[in-house]
Subunit: 407 residues, 2 copies
Amino acid sequence: MNIMEGGITAAKGFQAASTAAGIKYKDRQDMALIYSEKPCKAAGTFTINVVKAAPVKWDQQVVRDSAFVQAVVINAGIANACTGTEGYGYCKDTADAAAAALQIPAAAVLVASTGVIGKQLPMDRLIAGIQAMTPGLGTDLAHGTQAAEAIMTTDTRKKEVAVNVEIGGQTVTVGGMCKGSGMIHPNMCTMLAFVTTDLAISKELLQEALSEDIKDTYHMISVDGDTSTNDTVLLLANGMAGNAEITEKNADYQTFVKALNYVNEALAKKMAGDGEGCTALFEVKVVGAESKEQAVTISKSVITSSLTKAAIFGHDANWGRILCAMGYSGAQFDPEQVDLYFESAAGKLQIIKDGVATDYSEEEATKILSEPEVTAVADLKMGNASATAWGCDLTFDYVKINADYRS
Amino acid sequence: MNIMEGGITAAKGFQAASTAAGIKYKDRQDMALIYSEKPCKAAGTFTINVVKAAPVKWDQQVVRDSAFVQAVVINAGIANACTGTEGYGYCKDTADAAAAALQIPAAAVLVASTGVIGKQLPMDRLIAGIQAMTPGLGTDLAHGTQAAEAIMTTDTRKKEVAVNVEIGGQTVTVGGMCKGSGMIHPNMCTMLAFVTTDLAISKELLQEALSEDIKDTYHMISVDGDTSTNDTVLLLANGMAGNAEITEKNADYQTFVKALNYVNEALAKKMAGDGEGCTALFEVKVVGAESKEQAVTISKSVITSSLTKAAIFGHDANWGRILCAMGYSGAQFDPEQVDLYFESAAGKLQIIKDGVATDYSEEEATKILSEPEVTAVADLKMGNASATAWGCDLTFDYVKINADYRS
């Protein structure tokens, strides 16, 4: 697997454009368009929130019913959630406008929105944005990068990644972009992620590859425990790599799954590490677990603990909060067998042995916890299963951003 | 039911004392002692965290096995959690010291600790504290109030309440005290609560009354979603009111249950309203639910939503976050039927009708949300069940307190 530059336009035949449509933000780009030169198989995973934004309902139907898709229209600033039948109608209007501009069927257009809940989209500006973007579509990496910038809300940096692998004698590329960065809690998040590939694969296997992989990637991150109304991951495959279509779970499928996992994990970590107001990516590995499920439950409980997150912000090796969050996770284990380590670019340190603090140096622990990426490893000593979850610290800026957000 | 002054010493025959033992804090009282002139029936409910503090394990055994209890020794500053067999031994040493000082059996002594996890108690100072408190025991209300002050950690104010009712021709008093104020999430909390009554009642019914009532009171509050290792509610009944012992669920039992509920709900709300760093008590009522369980799930999801809590801090009527938190609660409902109201001493305002925003005044909403106690009422229009949960806002000070706590 080769890690490449770029994102959404890295795979063959994918174009992107972006524009400053003035949906809500001023003086910045806030719309993006993804277009594939050839029709794509599409897979999608969506929020499990009972309150689903209009674009989520639209996309669920398109992914389920359309034979192919060819474009995605994305806006930042307004989520088009809790907007009733009027809001759903705007999804159709958006698809119609993109279909007319791109000369494709409306049923081949996916839409995605992110931003404040409960406001209607300014459709005149949105449609003008589509018309402005269409002639500006381009396949180079810069077009993809600008699209990744245009979809940001409280994100502080763009998030894109791409890799290539060899499948059936052909180079297959998988690239993607995503945005966070608040209301982020697996299942899915207010998070939008878009992944494109030039692989030829059946629609069923494309969906299965995505549905399986999100369990280890997007579902393992949390910024604030709030599962949004808009979370969407879309995966488009246009077949332009020229490989023989993958129709069974052979070695080629596994190669693709690995590349997809790399892209999804990288995007997920970028979201967690750029969580609202955060100063550090906080990774929690649970090892020595009896089952994967146990490891997942415990690791997610730790990354969502407000007290642990505040301690990470303070660079404080407050391991009692970690053990406490493991304990209330709902999973059973013996606290008096747990070993706990902190790890970062600054070193690795054992903090707990058999449930009790070691004679570690607080100074060294603080040094390790002062890095921008810190890891806690908890060994349950019960078996061989493991899981990794990613979160971030809880800071003054998280409160500031979210006490002010709407105004 | 008459609401009275006082707390833990309001009921007949209960004495309290407190002292500055220097467990961790300087220049303040940090230990309390509750003593009953007559042996008590005891009931208790404890954290469901797998990681249980040593005093929780001690008390579970005493409540289960001892025919009566007569004293409770409480310290603030160190939680005696994650302290292994040494920590558990210190519970026994504490009970032995109190037993010797008070001339009662060690098996009649309950212990409770709150504070930092993972440190051993300084037993010399703790035992000196017990010896200093014993001669200072007193039945007046001031002694109870001082005990309520001595058990505080990050609490900003003492929490006590008392009521009396007439049962079997006698005046029965129920009084209590508690402390929060971080690592507070039902099931139970780092929260300690102590309730005393002079009622005569069987041990089984005393436990049943407590176990039932916590579902509507302590289990309906959250400060930060972190379920602590130390959460303990103890209820002592010494029978000194002189009523005929309650041994069945008759009208007298129901009268007691109502008084107990008043005390527990008042204490629980005081904890939520004094959550770490908070500026407001945030009450969420779900009405028109299909079942109590549904109403509980949804109301608790809203009070634990970081984004909603930050919006409350900002006095921002960000109803989208509330609907979002209802939606990811796990309970099913139709978002397009929901009505939502904000309410406080400053007025009441309908914000959502049938899932969509009304034409409400943001200015009026902000005025309502600027009070120290604010309520959101969500009507699901599905049935007649309801539930109320209590939380608080998420503030800069919550982060400050918890990024610094250990150091």
